[in-house]
Amino acid sequence: MFSKLAVRNVRRSFRDYGVYLLTLTFGVCLFYTFNSIEGQGAMTYLAQNRNPMVEPILMLIDIFSVFVAVVLACLILYANRFLLRRRKRELGTYLLLGLDQGQVSRLLFLETGIVGLLSLAAGLALGVLASWGLSALTLSLFSMDVSQLLGLSFSVKAAGKTVIYFGVIFLMVMAFSGLEVSRAKLIDLLQSSRRSEELKERSLTAAVVQFLLGVLCLLGAYAILLTFGMAVAVAILPICVPMLALGTAGTLLIFKSLSGFVLKFAKGHPGFYYRDLNLFTLRQWISKVHTTYLSQTVICILLLLAIGITASSLGLNSTLEAMTDQQAPFDITVQNQGADWSGPIDFPALLEENRMDPDALLEWQHDVLFYYNDPSVTGMKEASGAIRVSDLDALLARAGRPAYTGTLPHLVENMEEIPVTGNLGLTCVVIPDEMADRLEIRRQVWSADYAGDKENAENSLVPLLESLREKTPVRVSSRLMTYQDMVGSKLLALFLGLYLGFTFLLAAAAVLALQQLSQAADNAGRYAILRRLGAEERQVDRSAVHQVALAFLLPLGLALVHAAVGMKAANDLIAAAGKVDSVQSSLVTALVLTVVYGGYFLATALACKRMARSA
């Protein structure tokens, strides 16, 4: 009997449950997607190449999953409480009919169970698709040609973990519902429709002043950010704190006063003010402001975090190529650090000994000797090594940079001015070639570019060079290794960024949706009056949708403005490090936002419209 009633309840209130189900499904999907990255293309690729970042990425995702689970649990409990409050009268009726509280709790248990199973199934199905999408996104971002790694897959481990985490959350929801019912008094349950919201008169002139003040605060915060740049503004506390304070205060003031400001403005334009139900819609908005401006501010900040994190984690990845070029100008560099006592190695001869043809394998190679710096010879005290100017010019020419033309000897302040793959770790002085005869050899650095297939060349060459380590301390750095190191750390940033960004987005959208739904329930009586006055269905519908749109689009709009300014500052920072392709990342961010936030907006608007109709 109970299970029948529970199934019927869920089916009947599917519309009320809409936002709840959506939140659960998105939550499950998000959780599964990021916990299944182990089996995704990019991670498989890294693991195949024994990348050291694989472990930390998986570990950090594990840790963040706990945080995300806590956020989702709070969100789901909040949503559940909202639903319970809406159903108070129904629950009161059950009690009045003589069901005891244990039985009502059991009914709620069953309902939660059904909803939980449904959303788990839907979320996992969606998660499989989403993890395929994430896989495709990462693979394309890192221009890896590993299409055979891309395929629909189902990770049992991730699914198991998702089921366990959400199982615990659903158990909490059940316990919470049971507690709520057992604590409730029948009279409260039946009289729950009483509203007790006090409407206070607010001066519209004050609203205008507050609004302008808010705009000033924001302009101040933007000015600080753009003047000092992202790096300084975030890192230095005396600048960071006022900037954040101004930004938050400005956002708060704007949300608090915008409706009053608009009303004041609209009153001056009777053609707009008295058209359709505009006057009602505006007043509705104003009447909710003092209960919603705080949450709107929080939602705006959450959205900003979501947009900012998603966009910059995507944007950072675009700089990967540029940074690899900078850190790895040659395909391979071998540093023989034992050259001072065992003498330099003849690399071409070594290759031939191992039945490799240096001319076929390598497109270019150059052997450079670094010398110990002798201040009495070079006249430079600060340097720890020395390089001949002809060697430097050869390296520079290969890296496509202009040859050195200044005076000699010359102290190289920035180590990057000597192109080698990997880290040299020497402060060098550039000397005329003949001066080298008077110095002792310190290190041998052999750089080369592969001919033909780079991955094959790497695979045959690196093991041979690594094996030299048995005789002498050698450091082998290759462009592919550098690239993979960077892919690893960038992938970490991307995964964590997207994970957090999505969580914040989900939280913001769900809270907003629930708030709007509960307000729509309060508005039912007002819509009934409008209809009695002869307002058309279409007008009432439109007013309901406008109210939802105001609540959803305002925080989004302000967050987008914030994000645009923030991205401008961040781009200046990233552009200093390399080329940024922000168009792609902006597009992906926009798409993601539209899908999640737009989904919630649509679901809420439809539900509110339905509530207005049935009022």
Partner: protein, 255 residues
């Protein structure tokens, strides 16, 4: 005189088979322009059903209603809403003001809904408010006004659109006697000076005594009709009381 409302042999049946309730059982009623008619009767006599049918909120099972020359029974959906907002004005017991709007905006909204020209709205609202004596509380929210002021505001909202017929359902039901008197006085002014045609359902003999004609309903039929015809209000009231005590039942409780 021009006929504003003609209801002919109205029947409204609820339920089916054995559990049938005849809320209206053949009511015929005619209102001429400028009339002020009260409908009285005990609970369950069909007063509210009659009002709802005339208000196009409910549909009669059979019979016809013609308001201002339009047959109502054939109208549907949007036409009904259009007719309702343009030709009818409502005053309810719980005055049904929107709590998020000021008095001024509540009245103005009715004009917005009938798509009155924006430039005219302010003048018409002030004029109507003056007539009902609420000019000084136009900028107040409903919760800042007394019950009487709220009800007069609702009355202003009902007549600001110049409807052909004003329908009032127990307008004094929730008011103290002083506020009730003031509201009735204003309704009288609207009727005499503005020529508003009013159909008012009430429980209360005193309220009914300010109408020019009172119709008594019992068990869904018209049981008696009284006309004031030059009597002063006190003797009309006595007459009504006599009928009410004859009707007996629950009506007696009210007195």
């Amino acid at each position: 005189m021009e006929e504003i409302l003609t209801a002919l042999d109205l029947k409204r049946v609820y339920g089916k088979g054995a559990a049938v309730t005849r809320a209206l059982d053949g009511v015929s009623l005619t209102l001429e322009a400028g009339e002020f008619v009260g409908v009285m009767g005990p609970s369950g006599s069909g007063k509210t059903t009659l009002l709802n049918c005339v208000a196009t909120i409910d549909k009669p099972t059979s019979g016809s209603i013609v308001i201002d020359g339009r047959e109502l029974t054939g109208l549907k959906g949007r036409e009904l809403a259009k007719f309702r907002r343009e030709r009818l004005g409502f005053i309810f017991q719980d005055c049904n003001l929107l709590d998020t709007l000021t008095a001024f905006e509540n009245i103005a909204l009715a004009l917005s809904i009938v798509k009155a020209p924006a430039g005219e709205i302010e003048g018409r609202v002030r004029e109507t408010a003056q007539l009902l004596g609420i000019s000084d509380c136009l900028n107040k929210y409903p919760y800042q006004m007394s019950g009487g002021q709220q009800q007069r505001c609702a009355a202003a909202r009902a007549i600001v659109t110049h409807p052909a017929l004003v329908l009032a359902d127990e307008p004094t039901g929730a008011l103290d006697s002083k506020s009730a008197k003031l509201l009735l006085d204003r309704l009288g002014v609207l009727n005499r000076d503005m020529g508003a045609t009013i159909l008012m359902v009430t429980h209360d003999a005193f309220t009914a005594s300010c109408c020019r004609r009172v119709v008594f309903l019992r068990d869904g039929r018209i049981f008696l009709e009284l006309r004031r015809e030059g009597q002063d209000r006190r003797s009309f009231f006595q007459k009504i009381i006599r009928v009410v005590s004859e009707l007996g039942g629950e009506m007696a409780d009210v007195l």
